[in-house]
Symmetry: C2
Subunit: 263 residues, 2 copies
């Protein structure tokens, strides 16, 4: 692993649940010695990637990441582009929806829209990296991204997140095959035990699957009617979001959706 | 310069004006050889900090920066915190306002609010790094941050951005002294030749000046009445934003504002 990678990997440990981390903890989490972590942190602090809380002496992410995200949004304006289709989807299905982007073998939440229609709803945490094997979005993406992706995902040890998480590579391949057949990825309590999700892939101008749009709802609420509603409303959402990203849902997937159309 | 710093410095070249950069251009911009820039880019791409546009082969910022900005916002929620006071400020003065954060010897735009009251208005570019010596925000921050900051700023060569930009260290010190005396930083066409700005510093829980809130308007519109309006409305904005950041405007600055109070 190169020096840059080692330093930048430190940033992976910061999350909404763990926004500030001390030097010793970072050394332990990264399995590196304190002196070299300290050198990395000094370099990262100098560039504004981290900053030290003067009170607690712990480190947190710094202002540079705000600028970089602003540049990225100006370059590939996903937040703005997905806001409207996401709001329409949520208004139609009355459940929380979100858009994730593929990043290596993980998922980043680009944007979400909360449903305000029920007392209980799924909360989306935008600061987390989501695993592909345990999410409906990941399933949809593995089904429609380049075939090498699923191999890369399955080549690493897979974490069991809930008692429902599928970690057996053969079973994951079979779930992805299902997703390829019906045109949607599904998760049945695999990331949070009481949450079900359905996701459709989204595409960029190169026809690459770059992410997914997903609806998540409490398991208790997912009846046949809601399943139908979610499936039917994910299609226009995936079309609109792909189109806002300069791409389109490929004809092969449109065909799959049509074949499985109950009407 | 360390390897990590060299690699991360590459990210500085990306901006809204230059969102995608090819390998040769990056080598030229960073004054490094192509082979080593290529290695850096590969490492950065592996971690999602950059991605390659398959069509153009040029590089752009990657999705990782979105996640990092989400974590930062969950840790230090500046965008959410400043939205309301910024909107109130804009509604009162009917001109564009923005909040900047100090990052090393540069400024990052955390959030802005556009005025919709005039046909001509100042547009804020959130993807740029703003220089301290040429902005009202920078002037306000140098006046109220730790005294070492102005020395660090003046130790580097200062770029002349418009014909009004002050680059003489002695004159900058005198401008900063003025800001310390009146409690506001001013820019008279120093960053954009036809734009005037006035800024008040904002403070964190450690009483450190971490940034500024600024109103920018076309020079042609800045009469005595508007100057008065901006100054009087920057005070409550700086108080509210500091308070939303967990800090407060220090009594010494409140005293300065009171002394200069025309009423």
């Amino acid at each position: 692993m190169g020096t840059t990678t080692k330093s930048l990997k430190l940033l992976d440990h910061f999350s909404a649940a763990q926004p500030e981390i001390g030097l010793s903890s970072l050394a332990r989490l990264s399995k590196r010695d304190k002196a070299s972590v300290y050198r990395s942190l000094n370099e990262l602090a100098e560039l504004g990637f981290v900053e030290q809380n003067r009170h607690t002496k712990r480190y947190r992410l710094g202002p540079t990441v705000i600028r970089l995200a602003n540049v990225r949004e100006a370059t590939v304006p996903i937040k703005d582009a997905v806001a409207e289709p996401l709001a329409q989807l949520v208004s139609a299905v009355r459940e929380t929806a979100h858009v994730t982007l593929l990043n290596g073998t993980g998922l980043i939440v680009a944007e979400f829209c909360q449903s305000r229609h029920h007392g209980t709803r799924v909360e989306i945490e935008t600061a987390d990296i989501l695993p592909l094997h345990a999410t409906a979005s990941g399933c949809a993406i593995m089904a429609f991204a380049d075939p090498g992706l699923i191999d890369r995902v399955l080549s690493a040890p897979l974490q069991s997140i809930t008692q429902n998480t599928v970690t057996d590579p053969a079973l994951i391949r079979s779930k992805v095959d299902d997703a390829r057949r019906i045109g949607f990825g599904l998760s049945d309590g695999e990331y949070e035990s009481d949450v079900c999700s359905m996701a459709a892939p989204i595409f960029d101008p190169n026809n690459d699957c770059i992410g997914a749009v997903s609806v998540a709802c409490p398991k208790s609420r997912l009846d046949t009617e809601l399943k139908f509603q979610i499936r039917e409303n994910l299609k226009p959402a995936a079309r609109a979001i792909s189109s806002a990203c300069g791409g389109q849902v490929p004809p092969t997937l449109e065909e799959i959706w049509k074949l499985n159309d109950p009407t």
